[in-house]
Amino acid sequence: MKNNTFIARSKIKDAPVFHVINTILLVVISLVCVLPFLNVLATALSTAGNQINFWPKGFTWGNFISVFTNGGFWRAMGVSFLVVVCGTLLSVTVMFSAAYALSKPDFPFRKGLMVFFIIVMIFSGGMVPNYLVVNSLGLTRSPLALILPSVVQVYNLILIKSYLQGLPPELEESAKIDGASNLQIMFKILFPVSMPCVASVSLFTAVTFWNNYTSALIYLGTEEKWYPLSLFILNYIQSEPDALVGTWENIQKANIEAAMIVLSIIPILVVYPFVLKFFTKGVTVGSVKG
């Protein structure tokens, strides 16, 4: 938000009733956003069979302990971290260097390549052809299937490209006079200057990789070894509890689910303050121009 608008508008002292009602409604809306998280936290700390609203009943750490001792859960979390780190690094690097070339107004294939990439954004071969290509490359039993098909993020490409086009050309020209190569210009000059844009694009890419489960669903099939956390939890949610087997894990299934969900959202909550910072800088909104 721009500060000057705030100051200018807050001088207007009118409609007290409107402001009271507006504030109350916004508090209610904020609560609606928060309460479901309290419910899942309360469920994760409760024993099964209790009516749970927003406070645990039959308090227990057992659900968390059950998740902590579940090797599959940690493995899936490891896969997710691996995919997020490698996927984000690879995708942002590839998109940045492509954006660098495409940001030159007289780069000879610029127009054609932009059309080439925009087609990627708006049309796809569909699930089965995608699967068959990844399968014939021999990737369907490997975590590479979660990374390589998602490297091209056209929206990020456009964002970075328009950011680079907005930089003053003198930045590069002086380096060129000093005899710097394109690679040096990109890494030593443009990359540091583009940090706000690169950081926000990386953050959004990382969140997308962390949350995505469709790639794993399509490409990995029953290869549960490489399931990322999102698909691991979905698989657990959709599995039928075997009511006849009265183990603790079976009775507590819904509560263990909740504990898994709580643990899986912690990384997002950790990076969220940084995400919010980029909104206030306006890096991501309204900066897309062809």
């Binding site: 721009k2 904020s30 590839v94 998109m95 390549l113 071969g125 949350n211 489960y213 999102s230 909740a258």
Partner: protein, 314 residues
């Protein structure tokens, strides 16, 4: 002729000057060719007699299968597929009609906040659900709408019968809309908050001097000022009509709710890659028809928005 030669030589000199830039764009081009364009060639499977890809490798199976239009004949006559098309359109339209106006309202409310800290907190909280995966959100709402969850607790306390909402075909589409709204209304309001921030405060002062109350100010200053943004967002939203939200619906659906909940995306997955039946030909055909209609809608939307606003999706 001279012009053409000049154009050519100019292109050559540009090419020479920027030759060293080609390696920079090459990796992205290769990734796009392999993972986006190569599958587009695979669309030909839609015109093949159900090829047995499971048993042979792709190329062998592809050449062995005969050409046919059967998949498309089936697709336009099968009542099951038509039902899923209907579900897709109903869910998509419900989302647009019910959910589209709400971010505008929220943005207006947020921009009326006078306390900066309160504004930051509200924005931080309402944007938050957007950043969680559909798995997390469906997991959370399985509990909220579950037999022991707050909704049923409330209705039981009021003397009602508990309902298993997630397994009720009549409730499914409404739940899709509710969950989608919970996740995205806050985040979608960002665009409008930004648009409202850039309105000239003098307009409000002028309206006040003319004796306009708060609602009149909103109606006569705020809404007309952000109308171009609203229209562009609506056009883009309609462009994505055929996408009812695969990740959401796949995570929510179960065998009880298939009739009202199965959409084209989840059907294409179940038919082509789900456990059991593997009808690659038909699945690809359904995906293709859906993709082509989407493409036309999105291109139309982009064109319309460029015409109205001078800026499109790309």
């Amino acid at each position: 002729m001279a012009k053409l030669v000049k154009h050519r030589s100019e292109f050559k000199s540009r090419l020479k000057r920027h030759k060293s830039l080609i390696p920079f764009v090459l990796p992205a081009v290769v990734f796009a060719l392999v993972f986006s364009y190569l599958p587009m060639v695979g669309i030909l499977i839609a015109f093949k007699d159900n090829p047995n890809f499971g048993r042979y490798d792709v190329f062998e199976a592809f050449t062995k299968a005969g050409w046919t239009m059967e998949n498309f004949e089936k697709l336009f006559s099968d009542p099951e597929i038509l039902r899923y098309v209907k579900n897709t359109l109903i869910i998509s339209l419900m989302k647009i009609i019910i959910l589209f106006p709400l971010p505008v309202v929220l943005a207006i409310m947020v921009s009326e906040i006078r306390n900066r800290h309160f504004s930051k907190w509200v924005q931080g909280l309402v944007f938050l659900p957007h950043f969680f995966s559909w798995v997390v959100i469906v997991g959370i709402f399985n509990n909220i709408f579950g037999l022991y969850g707050p909704i049923n607790n409330l209705s039981v306390a009021l003397g009602g019968e508990p309902i298993y909402y997630m397994g009720e075909p009549a409730w499914f589409r409404w739940l899709v809309v509710i969950l989608s709204g919970w996740k995205e209304i806050g985040y979608s309001s960002i665009v409008y908050i930004a648009a409202i921030t850039s309105i000239d405060p003098a307009l409000y002062e002028a309206a006040k001097i003319d004796g306009a109350g708060k609602f009149k100010q909103i109606w006569c200053v705020t809404i007309p000022s952000i109308m171009p943004t609203i229209i562009v967002m609506l056009i883009i939203r309609i462009g994505y009509l055929m996408d009812a939200g695969f990740e959401q619906v796949y995570a929510m659906i179960n065998s009880l709710t298939r009739e009202t909940g199965e959409i084209i995306g989840t059907y294409v997955y179940r038919l082509g890659l789900g456990t059991g039946s593997r009808d690659y030909g038909l699945s690809t055909a359904v995906g293709l028809v859906n993709g082509v209609i989407s493409l036309i809608l999105i291109l139309g939307a982009n064109r319309l928005s460029k015409k109205r606003m001078g800026s499109g999706i790309w």
